[in-house]
Amino acid sequence: MSGDSARALRVLDPGPLALIEDLGRPGHAAVGVSPSGALDRGALGLANRLVGNPESAAGIEFLLGGFAARFETPAWFAVTGAASRLVLDGRPVDARTAVHAAAGEELRVAQPATGMRSYLAVRGGIEGEAVLGSRSRDTLSGLGPPPLTAGDLLAVGAEPGTPVPAVDFVPFLEPGEAVAEVRAQRAPRADWFTPDALDAFFTVEWRVSADGDRVGVRLDPPRTPSHAAGVEPAAPVLLERSVSRELPSEPMVAGAVQVSPDGRPTVLLADHPVTGGYPVIAVVADRSLDAFAQLRPGHAVRFRHA
C-alpha cells in the first residue's frame, strides 16, 4: 500500500506485455536512440483526450488483453485501441469513453477479439522518471521504465486543468477480416529492386508473420496452393534486387519497409534501429501505420501507392 493519499495505480496482472508509453523521444537518432513511443499513436492520443489529458501524457500499452490493475485512489480512465471487454469491479464498462473508478476498484481487460494493443490513459497521466524527455519504454535499447509486472505501483500525475470532456460515442474501425489496405510510398532505394519486385510489392497479398514486435514486423509472402496440400514449397523470392552490392548504412524511419537478403520485407515500427544496411523499398504512410501495428499474425495485407 502506498500509505498516503498519493494518486496511484497498482498493476495486478500485466498480461503478455504491458509497457508505459507516451509519444516517444524523437530527436536523438544521431546518438543511436530510437523514437519509440506508442505504436498506435492515435489510440493513445484518443485515450488521453477522453480523460482531459494532453495527448503526450504517458499511458499503458498492453498487448492482447489480460491486463488488470487496481485504482488505489479515485481516477478517471479510458481504454482505447484493440477492442476488449472491460470489467470494473465486476460490472462491465465501456471502452473509448471516460470512466470513473472509485478507490480500490479493479479494472480487468479481456483478450480482444481483434487487434493487438490497447491503451489505458489515467487522468493526470502515468508519472515516473523521464529519460531524454520521454517515459516510453524502448524495447530495442532498454531505455525507459521496464515492462510492468504484477505488484508495480504506478504514480499518477495531478489532475490537469482541463475538464473531462463530455463524449458519448467515439467511432471506431476494427481491423476486419478483409485484406488490410496499407498506404505506402516508394522509397529512395526502390530502384535497387527489379521492376517485377516493385510491382509484386504493391500487388501481392502479404501476410503478417508471427515474427513481429515493437521493432518491426516481418511479412510472409503469399500462400501458394501447395500449402493447402501440406507440401512446403520453396519460397519464391518476390523482392529480387537489381543492385546486389552492400548498401552503406542509411537512416531508418518508422514505417520503412526493409528487405533482407532473403527477399522478405520487414515494416519497421517505433523501436526501430536508427540506421540500417538493408535497402528500403517503400515507406508506410503515417496515417496507415497505427492500423498496421494493430494487425495480428496471419492478417492479409496489400500495399497501395500513397
Binding site: P26, G27, H28, A29, A30, V31, G32, V33, P35, V131, L132, S141, L143, Q185, A187, P188, P248, S249, E250, P251, M252, V253, G255, A256, P273, V274, T275, G276, V283, V284, A285, D286, R287, A306
Partner: protein, 212 residues
C-alpha cells in the same frame, strides 16, 4: 546532392555525389549535417546522419516537405576542416580476443594493428546499433577487416572493435559481430549528461594505449 522523399514526414539527403572519393564521404555528410543542424527551422524533428545520406525528419504540420526541401537545397555544407570541434581521447588496453586474428587478416603484427589504431584520426560519422554507439571513420583503409563470421552473443561494455571501414566502442554489453581488439573504461552513455553520448557525430576520437 539530391533530396528525395522518404515517406510522409521525412526527406533523404544524398550528400555524397557519385564519383566522390569514398574516403571523403563521411566528411561530406558531417559537413552537411552540421550546416543543417545549425540552421534547422521549427518543424525539424530530427536529423539522422548515416554513411552517405542524412534523413531529415519533419513534423509536416509545422514544416511542409516542400519548405524543408527548399531549406536543404539552399544550405551549403560546412567545410570538412570545421567538422571536428571536439576531441575525445579514449584510453584502451589492447588485449582484445580478436587482435591476433585482425593482425593475420591484415598481414601485419598485432603491434602494428595497435600502432595504426592509435595513430589514426577517427571521427564519429553516425550513430546506430545502440544508444551511444558511434561508427568511427578514419582517413585510411589500413584497418579494414570483415565482421566475424559468427557474432558473439555477449560483447562486454567498453570493447573496442573493428568492422569494415569502421571502428567502434560497445557502450554496454550486447551481442555483436565486430572484431575485438581492446577495451576502455570510458563511460560512453549517460542519460543524465547532455549530450548523453560521449561520442556524437563530428567528435574526433584518438585512442591512447595503456598497459593491460
Amino acid at each position: 546532392m539530391r533530396v528525395l522523399g522518404y515517406g510522409d514526414s521525412a526527406l533523404l539527403v544524398e550528400v555524397a555525389a557519385a564519383g566522390v572519393d569514398a574516403g571523403a564521404e563521411p566528411d561530406a555528410v558531417l559537413g552537411m549535417f552540421r550546416a543543417l543542424d545549425r540552421s534547422r527551422p521549427p518543424g525539424v524533428v530530427d536529423l539522422v546522419p548515416a554513411a552517405r545520406t542524412i534523413a531529415v525528419l519533419l513534423d509536416p504540420r509545422v514544416l511542409s516537405p516542400a519548405a524543408a526541401r527548399a531549406w536543404i537545397e539552399r544550405t551549403a555544407p560546412e567545410p570538412p576542416a570545421a567538422a571536428a570541434d571536439e576531441l575525445v581521447e579514449l584510453a584502451v588496453r589492447y588485449d582484445g580476443d580478436d587482435l591476433a586474428e585482425v593482425a593475420a587478416l591484415l598481414g601485419i603484427t598485432p603491434r602494428e594493428v595497435v600502432d595504426r589504431h592509435t595513430a589514426s584520426r577517427w571521427r564519429v560519422a553516425f550513430g546506430g546499433f545502440a544508444p551511444g554507439f558511434a561508427y568511427l571513420v578514419s582517413d585510411h583503409d589500413g584497418l579494414r577487416v570483415p565482421r566475424r563470421a559468427t557474432p558473439r552473443t555477449a560483447v562486454p561494455a567498453g570493447a573496442v572493435g573493428l568492422a569494415g571501414e569502421f571502428s567502434g566502442v560497445y557502450p554496454r554489453s550486447s551481442p555483436g559481430g565486430w572484431q575485438l581488439i581492446g577495451r576502455t573504461d570510458a563511460a560512453l552513455w549517460d542519460v543524465r549528461a547532455d549530450p548523453p553520448a560521449l561520442l556524437h557525430p563530428g567528435v574526433e576520437v584518438r585512442f591512447v594505449e595503456v598497459a593491460p
